[in-house]
Symmetry: C4
Subunit: 128 residues, 4 copies
Amino acid sequence: MTSPSLPRALGRTTWAIPEGYIPPESNGPPEMLSHETACLLNTGGRDANVRITIYFADRDPIGPFNVVVPARRTRHLRFNDLSEPASIPRGTDYSSVIESDVPIIVQHTRLDSRQAAAALLSTVAYAE
Amino acid sequence: MTSPSLPRALGRTTWAIPEGYIPPESNGPPEMLSHETACLLNTGGRDANVRITIYFADRDPIGPFNVVVPARRTRHLRFNDLSEPASIPRGTDYSSVIESDVPIIVQHTRLDSRQAAAALLSTVAYAE
Amino acid sequence: MTSPSLPRALGRTTWAIPEGYIPPESNGPPEMLSHETACLLNTGGRDANVRITIYFADRDPIGPFNVVVPARRTRHLRFNDLSEPASIPRGTDYSSVIESDVPIIVQHTRLDSRQAAAALLSTVAYAE
Amino acid sequence: MTSPSLPRALGRTTWAIPEGYIPPESNGPPEMLSHETACLLNTGGRDANVRITIYFADRDPIGPFNVVVPARRTRHLRFNDLSEPASIPRGTDYSSVIESDVPIIVQHTRLDSRQAAAALLSTVAYAE
């Protein structure tokens, strides 16, 4: 099994996800916890230093949240887990902007398990 | 916690969402009300004056619906809540075009709770 | 209530939807019938003459399916309803290419009600 | 019923899907098996030789997985079914890059049936 010949950094350096909402409740076992995720793929040979800014409906944006995606790795980042400089309030509308110092690719996914049967949504984010 | 250094207005000024349908029924508590949303993110330093036009299958489009998204704010606009110059009929196929005087980013989401277990869909809208 | 000042034809003339599958079963009342839809929005002042080609895994493509989307109208076209030159088999993988003589915008949606609780997916189609 | 006049190869040659996760459990009959799919559409007149690379959070990428999509055919490829040079672990975050020697179009879909009521997500993949 050979490692692929792709040190190429695919993607863009600025992304946005207008939809954002962490459901305040969950049902089921831990792996079914309601969550909101940004999947960050770094196909290149250099680590990606990523800064995330969170926008709200009625107050100033917060950030940056600093995250590293190592070279040739993916990181499925849960907004639930962000804590520095603040945590994201549950049950609140928000949006995010994701900036990286090298090209990455971003996809947005939510698992909503407020009800016994979970629902999913996903979309490739907007690339500037 | 410092505010981010991003007065940059990301996005485009014309967007379209071909899919549109507000489910006529809902199940569950108020927060699970069936709804159709356009998430509008304005990352720039100037308020966005947004006009929305609604297209139907069998009659002339209606609008404009005028909405403001303040500078550096997000607005998760429910089509359910539009009332001026008209409200959007439930259980009816429609589409929307969203025009702004400054760049914004638009994502479309629906929560369908016609059944006991809700379903979700979402996609970044089409940018002209 | 004034009609909008948009005779502008937004979008592109060639679109593709790689995912295609009409669930062979449904649950619930008629409006919850499993279906696969292409939402076609024509914002311009001329009717759109649309031809759809369906691709399969193991046989030649079929088409064209001819559809008209009137000027300044939307059409949420169910693949279930196509019948000429053929109908789309249920429970079968397919893809579609949608070509129009004027620009349109296309979004793909599926409602899957094979189970008591329906699931939804949607994405703006690929524009060439 | 005539075959369409489209030997045109639509799409791009490099695609990426940052989200990837094969749910480790399923409910219901075989057709409701939890799965993760890349729908690959080749509208052109030449077979597409496709190589897929899988990225992980904490180890080197694996691949290439070699797949052929015949001319004028679609292939709804389940990541579950990949086995050479390795299989994709269940319940593990991953991403994929899809490269083809001719243009193709790629859409990503997941069916998650860990619960009695399945959930769906889908998005057109990112095209470089």
